[in-house]
Amino acid sequence: MRLLTHNMLSSNIKGVTNGFPLLIEVEKVVEKQVDFNEDFLRNMFAKIEWKALVKASRTMGYTELPENSEASMLNSDEFLRKFHHALLELHLEEGALVCPETGRKFPVNKGIPNMLLHEDEV
């Protein structure tokens, strides 16, 4: 699972008002090369919750992203490369996602987060 997906997922449990961002418990991280596409990054930038991305990338062991960001930084190639790497190339292979409110764990196996809810959580 890439951090792009992590940045979109939120906890869906009944009664949870703010299920975002999910905390990450890391067991194994893999890196996969992905083609660099500037247009996609510019398009996605507005939709990304920057704080959550920075925090997630730090838990995954990547500390290059700046704490704060603004649209003007998109002109720097160096920034775009870092953004690209954090967003698309870091994969959480094994571990868990944790709901920030209830502490419920969603296990991640082989890169697939199991977001199935129990019957009493729907």
Partner: protein, 289 residues
């Protein structure tokens, strides 16, 4: 025995390892899925500016539809309820991210972040109550509600469905409308029983343009580029197909007068008592006999 998988078992059980295997080995299934997803992407009508979008594939299964999205250069997130199908997707090394989840429980995505959604032959599963806790209406409401929230304004969702009957179609469409979507159903090849395919084309907010038209509507022949004639011929020759084989063969090799005369001659040579040959020998009976 029914041929609808929806009536056999819940999706997470029906799509077991065996069933999932079919989706890598059967070229027919792969071909159909690819065509359906290509058409869905076409109906999605994304702006033609070569910018990759973030799309959602609901019921992505083994990632066949996702492959079409990747070929078009988009990033995607796939959601499916069957672990076996997702395992196959991993084997195929699809490019999108996979999530194990139940669309009837809501999608669990942040609001307004997705640029478009497709779904191939999945949504009709919501009409089934496979567990005692399942209530189709609540599940449909949760699904369409969360889909509406996670799509950006003006984004489209194209859901290819196989509704079992008219009531199911209206149920699905009704809940889509109640969630706030505008749009409707596009039917490809409405006059063909085999090739007929239905797509729910939904838009967040006001419709951006007129609803797209189905292929093969109003008298236009069903034979677009790829119909190799096989399927069309089958539907034309229905009467032939249902005729019993035995009768056809009998008609061809009817034993006529000559054959009877030959047999009688043989019997005479053996010394049997055989009636004389007359104009009545081996004549046809009247139809009303």
């Amino acid at each position: 025995m029914t041929s609808r998988p929806e009536l056999q078992a819940p999706p997470e059980i029906f799509y077991n390892d065996d069933e999932a295997r079919k989706y890598t080995s059967s070229s027919r299934i792969i071909d159909i899925q690819a065509k359906l997803s290509e058409r869905a992407v076409e109906l999605l009508a994304l702006p033609n500016d070569d910018v990759p979008r973030l799309l959602l594939d609901i019921g992505c299964g083994s990632g066949l539809s996702g492959e079409t999205l990747s070929e078009n250069g988009h990033q995607w997130i796939g959601l499916d309820i069957s672990q076996s199908m997702l395992d196959v997707a991993l084997e195929r090394e699809v490019e999108g991210d996979l999530v194990l989840g139940d669309m009837g429980q809501g999608l669990g995505l942040r609001p307004g972040v997705i640029d478009g959604a497709i779904s191939i032959s999945a949504v009709q599963w919501l009409c089934n109550a496979d567990k005692s806790s399942h209530e189709p209406r609540i599940r449909l409401k949760a699904f369409f509600g969360s889909l509406y929230r996670c799509l950006g304004r003006g984004a489209r969702a194209v859901l290819q469905v196989y509704p079992e009957n008219l009531a199911q179609r209206e149920l699905i469409l009704g809940f889509a409308m109640r969630a706030g979507f505008s749009g409707g159903i596009v039917v490809d090849f409405p006059h063909s029983t085999k090739r007929r395919k239905e797509y729910l084309v939904l838009t967040c907010g006001p419709p951006s343009s007129a609803a797209p038209r189905g292929k093969g509507e109003d008298g236009e022949s069903c034979s677009d580029e790829d119909s190799s004639g096989d399927e069309d011929n089958q539907s034309v020759c229905i009467s032939d197909r249902h005729r019993p084989r035995k009768k056809q063969r009998l008609n061809k090799k009817m034993k006529g007068r000559e054959w009877v005369l030959k047999k009688k001659e043989q019997m005479r040579r053996k010394g049997n008592a055989v009636p004389a040959d007359t104009k009545y020998t081996a004549r046809k009976r009247k139809a009303r006999f």
